[in-house]
């Protein structure tokens, strides 16, 4: 971390100590701690349905910024090579190896379940809160014995509550709130590891309270800021598969 950045953070800390902190400031600090230019991740997705049936899928995810993402299925065998590419929420493509074809997907697919999980494609892409907006003051609370800020987020008209660890500005828990005030999804971030000055949660667990299902994402191999180019996100790379 640069010297100037450290001084700014120190000054910021002093300011907060005197005046408290706004929710947007907490969100900005969180982004500073967790955002990378790009990342390449191998992850295992465990989907547990209401009857406790577990489905396991291994994925390779390559992401750049908040918009570009290429997800390729490695396992199970029948899904090996299936790829999803997005360059913007409205630009999504799918490659099905059994058909040998790429198709653009439009409509509301990005808002729906991703691969049968409780995450939507949008949630997968925006896990670093890049497009969220925070409002109001940050409340100082405790979550499981950890001092945290509690802030309210807005994203595409959806409201969420986010607990941010006070010490390192890391996301701890995110609750998605329905219009009637019910918590419909709860995402818990855990097992943080630092790579290239960026904190990465190695475990992300999503409890879909409305459906009674759970999706757990365990990050196995994480590479941060490896210099992935924009030209990586192409149809050809989708077809290269797993």
């Amino acid at each position: 971390m640069g010297k100037i950045k450290r001084i700014m953070l120190l000054l910021g800390g002093l300011f907060i100590g005197v005046y408290g902190m706004s929710a947007q400031e907490v969100l900005n600090r969180l982004r500073n701690s967790t955002t990378a230019q790009d990342r390449r991740v191998k992850a295992v997705m465990r989907i547990t349905d209401k009857s406790k049936r577990v489905q396991e899928r291994t994925l390779r995810m390559v992401m750049k910024g908040d918009k570009k993402m290429l997800v390729t299925f490695i396992s199970p065998a029948e899904l090996r090579g299936v790829s999803f590419l997005t360059t913007a929420p409205e630009n999504m493509w799918v490659y099905l190896p059994a058909q040998g074809r790429v198709r653009r997907i439009s409509g509301s697919a990005a808002d729906q379940s991703f691969g049968g999980s409780d995450f939507s494609y949008k949630e997968m892409a925006s896990i670093s809160f890049g497009t969220s907006v925070a409002s109001g003051e940050a409340d100082e609370v405790e979550l499981n014995g950890v001092k945290a800020y509690l802030i309210t987020l807005e994203q595409d008209g959806e409201r969420s509550r986010l607990w941010v660890e006070m010490e390192r500005f890391l996301p701890l828990r995110l609750e998605k709130i329905a219009r009637d005030g019910r918590v419909v999804k709860c995402i818990v971030f855990a097992d943080f590891q630092k790579a290239n000055e960026v904190w990465i949660p190695r475990t992300v667990r999503l409890d879909n309270l409305a459906r009674g299902t759970i999706t757990e994402l365990k990050l196995l191999d994480v590479e941060i800021d490896v210099g992935i180019k924009d030209t990586y996100f192409t149809e050809e790379n989708m077809k290269k598969g797993a």
């Binding site: 989907i47 009857s51 049936r53 299936v82 099905l96 058909q99 653009r104 729906q112 019910r182």
Partner: protein, 758 residues
Amino acid sequence: MMQQISRLVIKYPGWVVLGVCLLTVGAGFFLRRLRIEADVIQLLPENEPGVRVLKVVDDDFGGSDQVVVLVETDNLFAPGRLMQLDSLVQGLEGLPAVNEVVALTNLQDVVGVSEEVIISRVIESIPSSETGLKKLRERLLSDERYRGRLLAEDGNSMLLLVRLRPGVDKLLAVQEIEKEVQKKWRGTQVSLTGSAALMKFMRDWMMQDLTRLIPLVVLVLVLVFVFLFRNWRGVVLPLLSVGIAVLWTLGVIGLSGQPLTVVLIVLPPVLLSVGSAYGIHIVERWIQERRKGICGRELVQAVVGNTGMPVFLAMATTVVGFGANMVMRINAIRAFAIFSVVGVIFSFILAVVFLPALLILLERRIRCHIGLPTRMLKGRGSIFERWADWIGRGRIPVLICAGIIMIGSLFWGVKVKPETDFVRYFKPNSSPTRAAKIVNEQFGGELQFEIIVEGDIQDPAVLRQMEKFTNELKQVQYVTHVTSIVEVLKKANRAFHGDDPKFEVIPDTRDGVAQFLLLLSFSGSDYLASMVTSDYARARITAQFSQERSSEIGKAVIEIRNLIKRNFGSDVKVELGGMPLAVYALHRGIATSQLWSIIVAFLAVFVIIAASFRSVRFGLAGMVPIGFTLTVAFGVMGVLGIEVDIVTAMLGAIALGIGIDYSCHFLGRFQEESGNGVDRKECLRRTLAGVGPPVIINALAVGLGFAVLAFASLVIIQKFGLLIAGAMFLSGIGALVLLPAIFVGFRDKSNIKGGQNG
């Protein structure tokens, strides 16, 4: 035994009354535990296929209970209407008890256009212009996936299918839906139907019946008692006695945790009518003995000793009749059998113990002469004496007439068939009936067969078996719409290939299937979850059925089972279930065990009578009036086209159990009078003069008590009440007509034992 009871009552009347009061307070405590259960599924054992499959749907496919919201308008596509509907759908989706709402405004579709797959709502945005709305109307009506399923052919009515979360309180859920509809919809008619809504309406109406019918039965009994006794004791005491018996019985039901089902709900009015009869006989005899000038200890001994035995016999036969329903294979009817037996025993105990004890305590304070005016007793007696003389002369024509009526009734009676149709539990012009009719006629039906397929659902071979099966399933009569993952996969394949119809086939490989299923998850995981489990080990096929009648359901069940056998291999396990099967299970339960319950009751009652009077001939003669009554009752059902349902299924055994009482009273008195050394004619005159009035009043009281059920909200209870009422009048008259006609022909040396029983 009766003498011992009378000694006990004479010795400790105060303690008896105090004990009854304490027990009544105790029973009152358990009344709070009473709950009404209108869920049809609760009437069936858990291992019934229909119930078992519904549980699988609850556990694996997001829930089986749904409320069907029928929205009727003059023009659904008028500006603003669809927006209002969308707001209603969103409101319903937000309800905690609701798992999913299926409606045209939120339905997802997968469409292929050239190189693009569009996953979006069927109505992506609601047009505001009239032209746009007209085009949308035309598009939706031209698509068979929506026309006649969610949208009526005329385009003016729409269905919203509201699926409830498994395990939620269905009644509260329906109430929430009703409130939301009232809040969000104005102007045109909205009706609720579907299994959960029907259950809620049934519960409301049962509640209404319970609170309305009991006071009505009491009122009828008061009128009958006033007519009979003309003094407050004659009115209050039998009512008090039977009222306490009903309270005790309800307390026992509360204590047992058994819910009040649509069958058990008729028990309180039934018990009030039946149990009051015991009190009538005790009080009537009390009055008769008092008129002879008997007082004190002798009076109690005379009443309990002489009336106790016939009343005991009446109780025993009623217990046997009610208890015979235990052979029925339906839990709710068995529960009725158990608690009605308990209630009848309570009524008897209170009549022979509590009533005399109370009368003793009252006698101590009130002057000795009470009862009916002499002229009335005399008048009643002389009518029946003349009746005995007339029967003595005209026994042959009477018996021939009875035989002709029985033969005619048999002809019609054999045509009576079991039929279970929950919609017909409601009045024909009621909202649930109307809504169900519209849904059946315009939307393919509200009943739904559930077929669970267990195997490797991603295997194209399994999917092809499912495809062939669903194609043949569509040909079954009254099956309207069939939904399964097969159709969805085929549509996805077609959409992926630029909407080319030749790709509307099951993918050739397992990978191909798996990958399309993954793609389909983008159209909402709830959508897929209602058709296939997340591990693809189970799939669900649903078939809408547009008939509610169990006989038609039965035919379809047989046909579908054959299709399953024919189309699926040994690598796949297939189970048929759903609400139609639950209805059919009730049908079978009634069809196979109703006759048995009557046979068991008939034999048991015969044995009791024959043993009590130590005479096979008495036993056989005693069965004649009730046999006549049952035959005529079924004949009337045949003529009027009344079918046997879950409540009328109990008719035979119950009518037998109650109706035989009149014969018992006749036989008891006849035997008593035979022991007095008079000739047969005089014996009959005395018997008829003695038991005629109480039998008529008893039949009137019980019959009118049942007739009150005609004011019930539920049609099945109305039918049951009227049929039993008719049977009571008939068996009362039968005992006073057929038995004298039979006994007048007996030779004096018949094996009538002298003296009295008990």
